[in-house]
Amino acid sequence: MDNCIFVVMETAEGVIKNVGLEMITPAKEIAAAKSLKTVAVVLGKNLAETAKQAANYGADAVITVELNSDYSSDEYAFAVAEICKKYNPEAVFIGATQNGKDLAPRVAVKLNTGCASDVTGIKMGDDGKIHFTCPVYGGTILAENVIDTLPQMATIRGGVFKKCEPAESTAEIINENITPENVKTKIVDVVKEISESVNLEDAEVIVAGGRGMGSAENFSLVKELADVLGGVVGATRAPIESGWISRAHQIGQSGKIVAPKLYIACGISGATQHVTGMVGSDYIVAINKDEDAPIFDVANVGIVGNVMQVIPEMINEIKKLRA
């Protein structure tokens, strides 16, 4: 199977992570331009169903590698590198999840090739190379990168590309047996502290609170406003570090990148690390008592005022409107 693009699929409890299926879309575009095959490489446990799923979402062929866990650094890096050495793909796309970003750099060294990181755009260049758009300086600058070595590797950010419509597929499924060597690290315990599932990426309305909310108690106003609007609660790093709300709500460079229809920022200053995660929102409302707060530079409507006054009043008004 020479001349192919690999799309590496991460699974969790038998389900392929979204970004894996999303990456098939740009991979197929590149494949079409260069007459390549798009091959899904699915790693993990009990892969019969997941392999089928990858095929249905558009992969021309699927390679499965059964491993003992959903992820473990040494095993996965070894397995992906071995598969690459066997099939010599032109490009390898890996989801820019936490595990993907752990895996990709190690595979890159094993294959002695370059890797673009956290890619938000992919296109075929006239030079016959894939051009990858990567955010740098916390997203305030976009770098267009090419990779001079093969395979051209990249970690791809989730939510950037759309999955294809699934269709029943008869694509070939190849099972590869690989026994990882040189395993040095061992996951001895997996601790789940955060039970709530917070779906910020798909939310149409997000109400986010920052340090300006003042306390855990006051932060509940953010939740109240979100509830009235049928939205999801977001946060800056500050309230998370103060323990007012769990890490699952963090928006920004080290949290989620979101683009809802409506984003209401309450008591948030507008640091670049936060703004980079929400500036793609369709309509931004900011409430801040400091009229010079940088958040107002990206807001459609900026309300200069105290959150403790503005939010309750806003809730009242919305309730009236919806009555």
């Binding site: 060294v109 600058i141 976009l142 080290s254 900026g302």
Partner: protein
């Protein structure tokens, strides 16, 4: 225990960096600091050292002025510092940086007369944000690596670390030597005192040149090349409402939001 912390000097991350008139990152005049995640790594290393024993060495690849970042590290826990002079190393990508650092590790071990037990890196830098160098250094050295950790302790001659995950954390164990990359832990890095700053100023910073490293030239050719830089489309600021009274402000805001069919 011998600990190494890898540090990159970067533009202050609280400054929004755009492009200048010649299309390059507008970093002139921006204060240079130690990368935030590297300062978290140094703090974690310092706490580990204080709870046990050991020596912390810091290393940076960079220009002469990157010594400032190293000096700031010497004031908050590190006791030795080396700068790898970037002259002759050319443009670097993560792959060549990981390789160069692996050579620097060997050189410093030779100079120190001792092998490193744990090498700390920040999870990513705030300028290039690739988040790859730590793992690539470990790969080059052929030793274990855990990325994105928020806590560390010694256990059975190796280490046990907490690796942050979406739902909580993994407890990961590995033997030594090992590389760890550090995410933001629950604590903040300490500040230097006048006294620690004065003491830091007296510590000489070891200089390592390209020739000292013995890097192979074909291994420092970057494979990732930047073709062009651009700024993402700017969001236009809309209206800012700041009337004389709270009631007027709210009335105006609600009117605009209703008209825009936001609520």
């Amino acid at each position: 225990m011998e600990i190494l912390v890898c540090v990159k000097q970067v533009p202050d991350d609280s400054v929004k960096i755009g492009l200048n008139s010649s299309g390059k990152p507008a970093v002139d005049g921006v204060t240079m600091v130690a990368n935030a995640f590297d300062t978290y790594a140094l703090e974690m290393a310092t706490r580990l050292k204080e709870a046990n024993e050991g020596t912390i060495t810091v290393v940076a690849i960079g220009p002469e002025k990157a010594k400032d970042a190293l000096k700031s590290c010497l004031a908050v826990g590190a006791s030795k510092a080396y700068i790898v002079n970037e002259d002759g190393l050319g443009d670097m990508d993560s792959l060549t940086t990981g390789y160069t650092l692996s050579k620097a590790v060997a050189k410093i071990e030779e100079l120190n007369g001792a092998k490193f037990d744990i090498i700390f890196c920040g999870k990513e830098t705030t300028d290039c944000t690739t988040g790859m160098v730590g793992a690539q250094l470990a790969e080059r050295l052929g030793i274990g690596c855990v990325t994105g950790i928020v806590d560390i302790e010694l256990k059975d001659g190796g280490i046990s670390v907490k690796q942050e995950t979406e739902e909580g954390y993994n407890v990961v164990e590995t033997s030594l030597p090992a590389v760890v990359t550090v995410n933001k832990p629950a604590y903040d890095p300490r500040y230097p005192t006048m006294k620690s700053k004065m003491a830091a100023r007296k510590i000489p910073i070891g200089e390592i040149s390209k020739a000292d490293l013995g890097v192979e030239d074909d291994k420092i050719v970057p494979s990732v090349k930047v073709i062009s830089l651009s700024e993402p489309p700017k969001k236009q600021a809309g209206v800012k409402i700041n009337e004389k009274t709270f009631e007027d402000t709210m009335a105006k805001a609600m009117e605009i939001l209703k008209d825009a069919k936001v609520f």
